[in-house]
Point group: D2
Chain length 337, copies 4
């Protein structure tokens, strides 16, 4: 912790801060400059909010110098993490395509999706069984029946399954049907849920909240890692800004930043990131060019009649075409697909 | 629903949109202008996302004309809602002060808080028993023991109790000890939790998420109202913006806006809204001047040794002084305190 | 400047940073911790961007410890600045009301405005002669003729005049007619203009840009102060956020923050801050309760026929009523009006 | 213009709105629904702010249905605009690389830059002669001398020159030395400057302001186009959001959005968009993959000793490597480089 005193802060104020630091179990180094006195503290930084010092009289500002996350930091595993599920490696040389409908709606629908995903070279099928909807009057998902349908469709094409878990109570069900468990953007800071997920042994795909900083995303990953589940994949899916033409603003720079700060793989979701089918393809390409370890894309055999998120779902032929383009881009970033 | 076609969109494209609207059970009115054709649709707007139309060929833009919320709208109860708990009315003539520590830490601490809150003219004591913390290494609350301590302290001074419920499983416990149940900003869109709270018969104080629009806040209230719990109090506690000097930016204009759009009372939380003790007092005054129905303020007998949020907690004498100032401001907005 | 090295950064990397700091004329103090090495540098901080260090290999982060502004800081004049124009003091005990139309439109209009402003206890009349409009097809102002009309109207009621200067070339004209020169939000970082204004001897009211941090606002003030014009008044008028119900989000916490960081007075403009007449009154009250040194409010004798900004202009009777309320609130913050 | 009346708004209120619309020269179509009355108006929409109606009693909301810009809209020139300067086409099949230092510092520096830009396949050299700096104490540029140096260096390698014009008074100078004139993000709404630039006959590269919506960017382009200068190139360079790890958040989705809404070419500036050298390369690749018509990149022969923006400038070998990668990506979006 570094505490910078205000210009002209007298000895009594400096001493007061030192006393408080010592009381909090910091070892304090003082350096007195011409203008500012600076106090450096070695101690339990992860538990102390720098604002505790900033509201003290005579203090100009305080900075944490150790990252509040440890297990999620690049330093913990410099070589990077590769999450492996059966034959599929996320974070390795291959850029992994995951696609499927927003919600599982019927046997026929999900079967057709699996067929298209496999044809496009995808390795994972996605689909929601429980839908968090901002209006209480919207379609809420098929539940377990939907998971069964998706599992069958996936198995028929050798695909993995990923689905969103909205609540701790859904974990056992998900463990039965799903290979990867997705935590939605709205649950990124549902710490009870994260703690429960830290105890299981299946990979977690953790989506960034629309108002979460990259540091907060890594702190949420830390919750899962610190409980013993080391298989965490992060996901950029757009943040909320003043621009309203797109539903969210995809922050693609989060991809190189996460690769610098952390060893965890990061994928991108251009469907939620933009909210509009006509922008999904360019932003999917851009994410791969920025270095994403994978893509999570919504696709529907008949988006005009989708029960949710139709506006942002690709048509089957669009997914095939996207895949063709991605295969050209991947080598430019030293990857294959 | 209003769908505006692009300049020059041909008859075939217009017909395609009309067909889709009819299929969705809208009754369609067409008006052909010099430049734009406009389609007005009466139908199940609350279930349809305008973007479904915006991605169709030839469509310039689409607007929902009915509010996606109904029970939360001012039109539903033009006279406004007053939430009454024992003698205390929130949304009535009196501006209600609620204060207390971030976390209940000990019997002594919470007793002293109750004493100060009562002295300041407060009617409700607040305090957390289960703490959502962004770091897994921070203090997580005393649980039921904390609730018991707070109940006793409140009863000794004739105060009501408000505490945060983080998960459906905590509802029964909260029902025993707490008069009002608070839903935190991170849970504003935890729809499972909202649905459970819609079934109980105690008032809910629903905090605005840091990235939530006012419309989304009202939609979340709708979840609770639509299940039959009509006692909802909204709370503005700051939104996330680019300004980093304060932890959040309090959006005080949300107060008059909510009063215009909805019949529900709205209170302000300047402690989380600013994150710094030195700004809590001016922003608390400002919230009352803007017309807030109440205030939720963090106060601690010894903030320097608080186990959480010390930097934003008022000292006892600061709460007393704030109360004195508020009593001068309330009459300017036609209220008393 | 404080530079924190990454965990495990070797001696060669540390030395490279030290060499670079010395080359930039910093005196360097090194403190080697268990985990991190921290380098403190005393030197020309105001000219060096901390990111220069952050992109160096082995560096975790860098922080500036001296404020990049000096003359604008509270430390420079702890007692605070009072800008005095004739009998009017801004930043003193009195909360100063400034009001008037968006644009001067006619002799009759501006006369009526002056009458109402005086009746409401206002001390300054505002009005635009040159209008920056985001569409090239909108009304652009009456120019010098408008200034003349406003000057006459003001003199008839003993009011001061404030008007916006959009370009250096308009300064001589403004010097003739206006008592205070306003710099609009879009020009807050028009450094050429600021430099020219630093050479004149009339007070400048500097509006915060919609995407400007408080620190950037103070840096822009520094441009004016550093050229020798010490009479600068700051103005909070809303920042751009994701909330779209209001045109901007007023950041009222900027008022106490500026009072803490700087000696300059700060006023609030709730008309541009909200963009809607029905929110101007509550936000004006809130600004005064938060401690604003004055208010800048749009008012029009007939807002329905205003040539610009009618939607956010108060009607005359609304200004009178607002003034009545403000007189009740001012004493709660130790002020009069 | 579409005006939606509130549920239950009576006949008198509806009539009042109709009268106001007629007075503003709208032709009004009324459609009375079960719940809402909707008024459609054909008339001078570009001059009327929808909020004029929204503040009227009984009005729920108002929407503009015609774009406020005309000449900048895709509809005006569906085939798209190609800006041609000598042999270089921006907006055509080729993705155009523009690179160079933040500021021209010396003959030697700019010569070396030109050499590297040419080697990397770039067509345009960039460099600032007048620098807008947020601190008055920073380096402000070499002025005309810098422009001369850059012109010579460019000519030696057959490159075009682009430089920023900060003020109308600099236009004649720029016309002499520069092939394209850049308007910086801070000047995007400097309407006086835009109007002057609309009268010249050289292409304008207009940068998006950090708080500007895409619509506002197009409106600013409209200022230039409406004065008769049809050669406008837009530039995405990052918007301001809550994320603070990067200086700005690049909104790459603006690229496909601009291509949909407008016929103007759009390039990306990943240097200002990220502020950090280590993110420039991934974001440059991503911009091309998203469909950008060109790139504007900062490069310096010795970034550690650059007089401005060193932290975001690429080293020469990094520009060469970037160019190699871009040549692989361009064909995936149907372009060459």
């Amino acid at each position: 912790m570094i505490v910078v005193m205000e210009e002209g802060a007298g000895e009594a104020l400096v001493q007061q801060v030192i006393d408080r630091m010592v009381e909090m179990e910091f070892t304090v180094h003082r350096s007195t400059g011409l203008v500012h006195t600076v106090l450096g503290g070695v101690g339990p930084e992860e538990r102390i909010d720098p604002q505790e010092f900033e509201v003290m009289e005579g203090v100009k500002e305080a900075h944490r110098i150790m990252s509040p996350y440890k297990l999620a930091s690049r330093h913990f595993r410099p070589g990077g993490t590769v999450v492996k599920v059966r034959e599929v490696e996320i974070g390795g040389e291959e850029m992994v395509l995951m696609a499927g409908p927003c919600s599982v709606e019927s046997k026929e629908q999900i079967r057709r999706c699996a067929e298209v995903v496999a044809e496009a070279g995808g390795k994972v099928i996605r689909g929601g069984a429980f839908k968090p909807r901002s209006s209480p009057y919207s379609f809420q998902g098929l539940g377990e029946e939907g998971l069964q349908m998706m599992r069958e469709a996936a198995d028929a094409h050798g695909l993995l399954v990923i689905s969103e878990v909205m609540d701790s109570s859904q974990i056992p069900l998900m463990m039965r049907y799903s290979d990867l468990l997705q935590v939605g953007a709205r649950n990124m800071q549902n710490f009870n849920l994260l703690r429960e997920l830290s105890k299981i042994r299946k990979p977690i795909l953790l989506k960034r909240g629309i108002a979460a900083t990259i540091e907060e995303l890594l702190l949420s990953a830390e919750y899962v890692l610190s409980g013993g589940n080391y298989e965490v994949i992060l996901c950029e899916r757009g943040i909320r800004t003043f621009e309203s033409y797109t539903r969210n603003t995809m922050d693609l720079s989060a991809i190189p930043v996460v690769h610098k700060l952390s060893h965890l793989p990061i994928v991108a979701d251009p469907s939620h990131g933009t909210g509009r089918r006509d922008q999904v393809i360019p932003m999917a390409r851009a994410a791969v060019a920025a270095g994403a370890d994978g893509l999570l894309v919504e696709m529907h055999p008949d988006p005009d009649h989708a029960r949710s998120d139709g506006a942002q779902s690709l048509r089957p032929e669009q997914l095939i075409e996207l895949s063709r383009q991605l295969k050209m881009i991947a080598p430019a970033v030293g990857r294959k697909m």
